[in-house]
């Protein structure tokens, strides 16, 4: 299951790997918190958060909370382009020197690394997914935008499709009829 942040990362990820197991986040900052909730609620699933620097900077308190809860099944990836690209490319604090991997480590996420090549990213992500988390990967990326289609579904459809995906893949029932309660 993949949770992607408000911003370009969502559109680019869905152009690459469209799936009902993708959940798009609209609240800037909340991507890693939603992913943490999924990881804690479904310990047998693997959850990947695709975050951005502007988003993580808005919700830095997520790092100590992830470190405290220690979800083994959470991989938090931050694509750091040092600007609020979706909002007009003003510089973020990482563009002025803030080190997000350093912050993750200081918060208590020991398995936190910068990667500086596509190969290193693939290796580190693979290792993180096969071992115990929580893991944090920082990737410095450029600001070129891929030309991709708009997100094809609205938020409510995204919710239902995602829940149905979880029900099927985890063999659990989440959405139940409310009928019996109304006759209490």
């Amino acid at each position: 299951m993949v949770v992607s942040s408000a911003g370009a990362v969502t559109l680019e990820w869905n152009a690459l790997r469209s799936s009902d197991g993708n959940f798009r986040v609209r609240t800037l900052g909340l991507c890693s918190s939603i992913a943490l909730g999924m990881a804690l609620g479904l310990p047998e699933g693997k959850i990947i958060a695709l975050d951005g620097d502007g988003s993580l900077l808005m919700n830095l308190s997520t790092l100590p909370t992830i470190a405290r809860m220690k979800p083994k099944n959470l991989l938090h990836i931050v694509f750091d382009n040092e600007v609020y690209e979706a909002s007009g490319s003003k510089k973020t604090a990482t563009g002025a020197g803030t080190d997000l991997v350093g912050l993750a480590r200081a918060a208590g996420i020991e398995n936190a690394h910068w990667v500086n090549s596509v190969d290193a990213f693939a290796q580190t992500a693979k290792r993180a997914l096969s071992g115990d988390g929580p893991s944090f990967i920082g990737v410095k990326v450029g600001t070129e935008r891929a030309s991709v289609a708009p997100y094809p579904i609205d938020e409510v459809e995204n919710k239902y499709r995602f829940i149905r995906y979880v029900e099927k893949s985890a063999s659990i029932e989440i959405l139940r009829t409310n009928l019996p309660a109304s006759y209490d």
Binding site: R26, S33, T62
Partner: protein, 173 residues
Amino acid sequence: MNSTEAAQTILKALRGAGIELVATLPDINLSELLRAVEESGELIHVPVCREEEGIGICAGAYLVGKKCAAIMQNGGFFNSNNAIVSTLLQYQIPLLLLIYYAGDVGDRTFSTTGSLTEPVLQALGIRYYVMRETEDAPELIRRAQIMTEDSRRPVALLLTKEFLGRRAALKAL
């Protein structure tokens, strides 16, 4: 009822409503409840650093099948408003909000926070109930959980001092 007994009653009510995960941030008036949550080990307990995180955590856990509650002070409810609007309301995700009502009638602290709590809930279209009798906890928490699931919107319970019980440490004052 003292706050320790009230905490046990409320915890039992949460379990009775099917709650499995709580995201919390302390207020002194919530301390016995949070202690009961922690000590019981019956719920997944996520202590957060800022309440808005807790809205995201509960939303994520809901999407994978957990019934959740966020426990906070009303100042934390204000901290959470962007997440409540653009995650809970936008995606129609249910959530039980248990909000300590600082600045309630007769409270000498946070009167501005208290005076704006109900208007903001009303503006957001969030149905809420002011909880005063601890004995109401099992029935009203159960009903509020049904309401949030059925409406697919958050429902708030405003927890007053009398609902949370007398705090032993303050009796001498």
